[in-house]
């Protein structure tokens, strides 16, 4: 295949990847509006983002095709993968601690059960 044909293939692949990434970003926005409570909205905010961002960066890399900038894109993807779970976890923990989690929407809630159990144990242990 000639250089021109490789360029076209790369452009097509890049277009497909960009489209996929944008689709996942849309899904994230729709999820943020539709989901009923804080924890589910957190899923919408972090999950499609990971794959969506990876796809967009792959699309960009296919378009740039050369240069050191491509390696910085790898770095962006790695940063996103390392930090998105941490952000999701901290927001979820803060939600539990400030009472923003609606327990009636959860099928099973073992964390609240365990928190209540430890609180009860603390109350029992305290000398009267």
């Amino acid at each position: 295949m000639t250089q021109d044909q490789w360029t076209t293939v790369a452009d097509v692949a890049s277009a497909v990847c960009l489209l996929g990434g944008a689709f996942f970003a849309l899904a994230a926005g729709v999820g943020a509006v539709r989901f009923p409570d804080l924890l589910s909205r957190m899923h919408a905010a972090t999950k499609p983002q990971v794959l969506g961002l990876v796809l967009v960066l792959v699309g960009l890399a296919l378009r740039l095709r050369e240069g050191g900038a491509v390696w910085a894109l790898v770095l962006v993807a790695v940063f996103q993968m390392l930090t998105a779970p941490v952000a999701a976890h901290m927001v979820g923990r803060a939600g539990f601690r400030t009472g923003k989690v609606r327990q009636d929407l959860l099928v099973v809630d073992e964390l609240s059960r365990d928190l209540a159990a430890t609180r009860r144990a603390d109350d029992d242990d305290r000398p009267d």
Partner: protein
């Protein structure tokens, strides 16, 4: 975790320095001597100036199991991203979530963190609370139906931990967690 004054010297943090140098070089884009040396210097500066507790890593890297871990992770990521997007875009369907408690089998911080990160990245579950001392992870599952039920979700987390242990753990750690290395090893143990 070791707070022995000798162990916090930079000589024992060379992995961190290597990683920081790689980040610096990637940021600049080309591998020149200047970039590498600057990156190493900055790495040394950061690790000696901003002390953090060094992570104990007693395992060995098994390349085949590591490939399995990464490949399975990539597959899960793609499949589950589609699932979450479908749940978000499906009209008139609200997901019913659940918070489950999973007792991990290994006793190390590193594997707990790695398992937590991987479970958080694969769509469908988020780590809400992690108790380091008891080795418990509290996982919030987005939709109980799409994950195939609560017990299936729990089993997914345990499988993820097993893959991490097989990829990065030493044999002693594996035995402690009650797992075996491969199919052949399991047959040998059963015989």
């Amino acid at each position: 975790m070791s707070l022995h004054p000798r162990r916090t010297g930079w000589r024992f943090q060379w992995v961190t320095i290597l990683w920081l140098t790689a980040v610096w070089v990637l940021l600049w884009g080309d591998v020149t001597w200047g970039n590498v040396v600057n990156g190493a210097l900055l790495g040394v500066l950061v690790t000696t100036g901003l002390r953090m507790t060094p992570v104990d890593f007693h395992g060995r890297v098994h390349p085949a199991a590591l490939a399995v871990l990464l490949g399975r992770f990539a597959l899960d990521l793609v499949r589950a991203s589609f699932e979450v997007s479908l749940v978000a875009l499906r009209p008139r369907y609200t997901p019913r979530g659940a918070v489950i408690c999973v007792q991990l089998r290994s006793h190390s911080d590193l594997y707990l963190t790695l398992t937590a990160e991987l479970v958080s990245l694969v769509p469908g579950s988020i780590i809400v609370e992690a108790h380091r001392l008891t080795g418990r992870l509290y996982v919030h599952v987005l939709d109980v139906e799409t994950s195939g039920g609560i017990e299936k979700a729990r089993q997914n987390v345990l499988d993820q931990e097993a893959r991490v242990l097989r990829a990065l753990g030493s044999d002693a750690e594996l035995a402690e967690a009650g797992l075996s290395r491969g199919r052949r090893a399991r047959e040998v143990a059963a015989r």
